[in-house]
Structures are given as structure tokens and as C-alpha cells.
């Protein structure tokens, strides 16, 4: 088991570097970015004084702007690994300060949507498999398709509209107005939970449909297998039979779908938080890109991708813990 974890961690390292490369490429991509603008601004406001010149050369040194690309990359990576993600010109604060709280909230939304989609997909998938080709199965499959076909932001808009029309209030934001800039407390936590259900449902629905299909199809396959017949012939019945044998095996591919659902969820959380005005990394990212505040944007992208990577690792470990066949590979 430990060897398995070690192996997976080892593979993660090159992937992490590729992620950092992609993120850095994104940072450098826009032609003329915030640093240039910032510098132009300085010159415009204060003129080309000695002070300004010093500031400019300090900046150039800090970001290695006159040096070849790969040197810039290494300087950046060096700082990143120490926790210094650079400076945001838009907010005029270090990037690290801005993103940690936002990322934590992104994480909360992502995890809760994941749990939501599991909680829904699990019983529905099992039901669909046991009663396959029944009316109930067709109904859920149809529902799943529709859920799959509604883009996250569309669902957010529709729900916002529906809530507004029926309840007359707008369900935006993660906190009620009185809790926004207040330090954390139990009350604030409860308030957040009250608002959390909306993004959780919106982000979770897209993933749910896929999970239901996977569980249904895998369980259907397993139900036909000989070992299930053996169990029946032994005299095992009902739920116990279902849970102990075919479900146990069908769960494995179900769990491993976390691997591809996680990027979907983080993606969905990003765009939903823009529509719903949630203080997560999505809105900040969008803004940063519109303003071409690239160090902020690149850092967010890299951290989101790394979160996905870690999530996938955790799900693989979970899978290995449950399925004895994997451990012995």
C-alpha cells in the first residue's frame, strides 16, 4: 500500500511541473501585461524621475524581465515553491494574501458538490441498475441527460430567476450582508451553509448525471456475473447480496470517476461563482484576466490544477484501500 502511494506521488511530480509550465505560459502569453501598464502608469503619473527609474529597474530585476524565458520560469518557480506567488497589480497586494481564503471557499464548494453528487448518484444508480428498463429507470436516465445538458451557468441563471420570481429575494453571495467582512464564527459558518446549498446543487448536477450512468452500467455488468449467481445459489438474498457482492465490485469504477469529475467540479465552481457572485477564486480569476493581472491569474490556475491533482491522488488511494486487487498489482 505504501509502495503504491509512493509510486503515485512519484508520477505526480512531472505532472506538477507540466502544470507549472502551462501556468507560466499563460502568465507570459498576453502581449503586454499589467507590469508594463503599471510601469507606464508610474512614468505617466510621476514622470521619468530617478525614483521611478529605480523602481522600474527593481521590478525588472524582480521579475527577470530582461532575461530569457527559462530563467524567468526558474525564478518564478523558486518563489512559488517558497509560497511567494508574486504581486497583484490590480489589488496592490501580494497574490498569496488574496487567494488563500478564496481557494478555501472554492474547495468547500467543490467538496460539497462532490458529496452532493455522490449522495444523489449512489441510490439512483443502484435503483436504475436493479430496475433497469423500467419506467423509473427511463425517467432517471432522462433526468440525467437533461442535467448533463444544462450548462452550469445556465442552471445558475435559471434558478436565480426562479427564486427571484417565487421568493422575491436574490440568492447571491455566500454570506448574508451582515457576515461578509466579519471574522469566522459558528454563526457565520451556519450562515454560509444556508447559502451553500445553491452552488452545491448547481455545480453538482452536471457531475451527477455522469456518475449515475457509470454506476448503473457497472452494476448492471456485475449483476450478470457468475459470482453473483454463486451467492444466490448459496442462499444469500436481497440487500445483503447486492451490497456485499456486485456493489462492492461496481463501486470501484464509481470511485475512480472522481478523477475526471474533480476538474469538472472545479471548473463548474469557477463559472458558477461568477454568476452567483461568490467570493471564490473564479470571480477573482476572471477579473484578473480581464485586467491582465497575469501573476494572480497564473497562480490561481496553477493552484486549481494542483488541487485537482491532489484530489485525484486521494481518490486513487481510496480506491486502492477498497479493492484488494489493486494493492497486489
Amino acid at each position: 500500500m505504501l509502495k503504491y502511494i509512493a509510486r503515485r506521488l512519484l508520477i505526480m511530480i512531472p505532472i506538477f511541473f507540466i502544470i507549472s509550465l502551462v501556468s507560466f505560459t499563460i502568465i507570459l502569453l498576453p502581449p503586454g501585461d499589467a507590469i508594463d501598464r503599471y510601469m507606464d502608469n508610474l512614468i505617466f503619473e510621476h514622470g521619468l524621475t530617478e525614483e521611478v527609474k529605480a523602481q522600474i529597474s527593481a521590478l525588472k530585476e524582480l521579475y527577470a524581465m530582461d532575461e530569457p524565458v527559462w530563467v524567468q520560469y526558474f525564478k518564478w518557480m523558486g518563489k512559488v515553491l517558497k509560497g511567494d506567488f508574486g504581486y497583484s497589480f490590480q489589488w496592490e497586494r501580494p497574490v498569496a494574501e488574496i487567494i488563500w481564503e478564496r481557494l478555501a471557499l472554492t474547495l468547500i464548494i467543490t467538496i460539497s458538490s462532490l458529496l452532493f453528487s455522490w449522495v444523489i448518484a449512489f441510490p439512483v444508480g443502484i435503483y436504475s441498475a436493479i430496475k433497469h428498463n423500467s419506467m423509473g429507470d427511463y425517467f432517471f436516465t432522462l433526468l440525467g441527460f437533461i442535467g448533463l445538458s444544462i450548462p452550469n451557468f445556465m442552471l445558475a441563471l435559471l434558478i436565480m430567476y426562479g427564486v427571484f420570481v417565487w421568493f422575491g429575494e436574490s440568492l447571491v453571495g455566500l454570506f448574508s450582508s451582515e457576515y461578509i467582512n466579519v471574522p469566522w464564527s459558528w454563526a457565520k459558518f451556519v450562515d454560509m451553509l444556508k447559502h451553500l446549498w445553491l452552488p452545491m446543487v448547481i455545480v453538482g448536477t452536471a457531475g451527477t448525471a455522469g456518475l449515475i450512468r457509470v454506476l448503473r452500467n457497472n452494476l448492471l455488468d456485475e449483476l450478470q456475473k457468475p459470482y453473483v449467481i454463486t451467492a444466490r445459489a448459496k442462499g444469500l438474498t436481497g440487500i445483503k447480496l447486492l451490497l456485499k457482492y456486485p456493489l462492492r465490485v461496481a463501486i470501484n469504477p464509481f470511485l475512480s470517476t472522481v478523477g475526471w469529475i474533480l476538474p469538472q467540479l472545479i471548473s463548474g465552481a469557477t463559472i458558477t461563482s461568477v454568476v452567483l457572485n461568490l467570493p471564490t477564486s473564479g470571480a477573482v480569476l476572471l477579473n484578473a484576466l480581464l485586467f491582465q493581472d497575469m501573476y494572480l491569474a497564473g497562480a490561481i490556475i496553477m493552484l486549481l490544477a494542483t488541487m485537482t491533482l491532489i484530489g485525484t491522488l486521494l481518490s486513487d488511494i481510496l480506491l486502492a484501500a477498497i479493492d484488494p486487487r489493486i494493492k497486489y498489482e
Binding site: 450478470q224 456475473k225 457468475p226 459470482y227 449467481i229 454463486t230 451467492a231 444466490r232 445459489a233 448459496k234 442462499g235 444469500l236 438474498t237 456485499k244 457482492y245 462492492r248 465490485v249 479493492d323 484488494p324 486487487r325 497486489y328
Partner: protein, 342 residues
């Protein structure tokens, strides 16, 4: 119909059909079988003739879309009562009880028939606990004893092995241990050695023989391997396309086969004593598609003693040759009494 005292199981006129999208498959068409207390009955036939469906019918585990259309199966349980297996619902508590206590089945491919994610100990203990009230500790000890009985070396250690960690022969032994742990009245072995190689086959055969003698168990051995039948069975029933065509003692089947199909099967076995250069005998034709409905005798298209105008029109009756040896063939009579088609 009553169950005679010396019989353990009696199957009469069993019809099982599968309603598939492509057509109706008449898997069993009036099967009559008797298993005597303590005997081993061999059920022989080519692939697709319905042998496995017969076993599934007894345990009521026929997969959808199969259904028992008519016929009766009477079975004497361990507690002495006679149960009518065909009267029970698929999931009734009665049949579940019978599966747990009175009848066990071992399947062809132990790798897929055993759970891939549980230890064999877990599966055997489960069978033991289903049969009676027992503590897990005691159940575990009994499981180890069973593994020892079937010849698994180092059972205390092996009991915690996963299915995929065992060799083919071990797996089959584990499955036998699991089946026997509930001390059934009737053991059904569905092609028990088909999936293992020849040396292991011999070991498994020896094992089954030994267990039969020690446990005084009745066995239904389903196979297409005539060699196994010769070794293990007391009596043999030959099956073709959903019907039993001949029933006799093992000796009679081999030395005095009456039905042309049985004769064909016996003749097809290459013998060392045959003169060199002589062509191998083969039953002509092929097993027809399961969707076909055949008029008259079900074997007539491939029969080397085919009587035109008779065999393709009249369904054969069951004729008794001598006591204990019956044939369904128009060669031996029944032409005037026979009905035209089913």
C-alpha cells in the same frame, strides 16, 4: 405424484422456455430425471443441450428471460419433508432455505464464480453461517476443517487468501469446500473440471470420489466429458436439445447404448484399440440453432438410423429396455402410440 422412498429428487415433464428478442428458445422440453439416494447421476450432452438449465431449474436460479412453463420437481429435504420445488416462488423463503441447507452447486469456472474481492475464508464462513446459527469463531474453525478435507495445504493460512491468489486447482477445491460446508443432501457439479488442466482434473475427480464416499452425498454431475462420467457416475442420463434420450446404469450406457445419439457419442471416443488408419467416427451434422422447432424426434436430422416418414413425424415415447434402462427412440417401439408433434 409421490416421491418414492429411495429417491432423493424426481423431475417430471419439465419445460423451461426463454423468451428472447430473437425468438423463443425451448431449453427444456419435457425432462424426466430421477436421482436415487446416495447415488451419483451423470447428466451428459453437448454444449447447449440444456444441462445447466436443468441444474438452474432445480435451484430456481434460471436467469431471465427464462421461465418454467410446466412440470414438477419433487425433492426430499434433510429434515425428511418432501418439497415441491416448482411450486415455490423464485424468492420464497422456502427455496432460500433449501439453497442454504439442502442443495449446493459448484460451477465450472471458479475464478469468476468466486468473489474477486473477498477472501475464500470469508465466502466459506458465509455459507456456514447461512446454514445454521453459529459463532464466527466456530464457523472459521469449520471452514479450516473443510479446506483441509478438500486437500488445501496449510488451510489456516490459506483461508485468508483472496481468490486471485490461488492456483486453478486450489480455487476449485475452495469452491468445493464452500459447497460442502453446508452439508447438503444434494451436490450439483456443473462441469467441475472443464476449466482446469488435465492433471488437476484427475485430482478433482479423485477428491469428488473421496468426498462422495465419506459424506454419503447424492451428486448430480453435469458434464460433456464421458471419461468423468465413467469414473464417477453410478447412473447416466443422456440429454439432447432439451430432452433426455436415454437413461441407464454407467455400465449399460457404455456397453449397451441403445439410442443412436448415445451410440454416436460412445463411438466418437477415439480408442487406442482401434486399428490404425481407421477414420474417426463423428455424428453427422451440427447442433441446430436454439430457435428451431423440430418436428418428430429431436435428433432425427443427425441420426444414422433415421427412418424417413417416421422419425420426422412422430415424437418418440419412453421405452423400457430392461429394468433401469430406458430409451426415447422409435427404433424400439412407440410408433403407433406416438403423437405427431409437440
Amino acid at each position: 405424484m409421490e416421491l418414492d422412498n429411495d429417491l432423493l429428487l424426481k423431475m417430471k415433464d419439465l419445460h423451461v422456455h426463454f423468451m428472447t428478442r430473437e425468438g423463443v428458445v425451448q431449453a427444456l422440453n419435457g425432462v424426466n430425471l430421477e436421482i436415487v439416494n446416495g447415488e451419483a447421476l451423470g447428466l451428459v450432452g453437448e454444449s447447449g443441450c440444456g444441462k445447466s438449465v436443468t441444474a438452474q431449474a432445480i435451484l430456481r436460479i434460471i436467469p431471465r428471460p427464462g421461465k418454467i412453463l410446466r412440470g414438477r420437481i419433487l425433492f426430499r429435504r434433510k429434515n425428511g419433508t418432501v418439497a415441491e420445488l416448482t411450486q415455490m416462488e423464485d424468492h420464497s423463503s422456502q427455496i432460500i432455505d433449501i439453497r442454504r441447507k439442502d442443495i449446493s452447486i459448484i460451477f465450472q469456472e471458479p475464478m469468476t464464480a468466486l468473489s474477486p474481492v473477498h477472501t475464500i475464508g470469508n465466502q466459506i464462513i458465509e455459507a456456514i453461517c447461512l446454514e445454521r446459527e453459529i459463532t464466527r469463531k466456530e464457523a472459521r474453525e469449520r471452514a479450516i476443517a473443510m479446506l483441509d478435507l478438500v486437500g488445501v495445504p496449510n488451510p489456516k493460512f490459506r483461508i485468508d487468501s483472496y481468490t486471485f491468489e490461488l492456483s486453478g486447482g486450489m480455487r476449485q477445491r475452495a469452491m468445493i469446500a464452500m459447497a460442502l460446508s453446508s452439508h447438503p443432501n444434494l451436490l450439483i457439479a456443473d462441469e467441475p473440471t472443464t476449466a482446469v488442466d488435465v492433471t488437476i482434473q484427475a485430482q478433482i475427480l479423485e477428491l469428488i470420489q473421496k468426498l462422495r464416499q465419506e459424506l454419503r452425498m447424492s451428486t448430480l454431475i453435469i458434464t460433456h466429458n464421458l471419461g468423468m462420467v465413467a469414473e464417477l457416475a453410478d447412473r447416466v442420463a443422456v440429454m439432447y436439445l432439451g430432452r433426455i434420450v436415454e437413461k441407464a446404469s454407467t455400465a449399460d450406457i457404455f456397453h449397451d447404448p441403445r439410442h443412436p445419439y448415445t451410440q454416436g457419442l460412445i463411438n466418437s471416443i477415439p480408442k487406442l484399440s482401434n486399428p490404425r488408419g481407421e477414420k474417426l467416427w463423428a455424428i453427422k451434422g451440427m447442433v441446430p440453432s436454439p430457435y428451431t422447432k423440430i418436428y418428430g424426434c429431436v435428433f432425427h436430422r443427425r441420426c444414422h438410423k433415421f427412418m424417413p416418414g417416421i422419425c420426422d413425424k412422430i415424437v418418440p415415447q419412453t421405452i423400457e429396455i430392461v429394468s433401469g434402462h430406458v430409451v426415447d427412440c422409435l427404433l424400439y417401439g412407440g410408433v403407433n402410440e406416438g403423437r405427431n408433434y409437440d
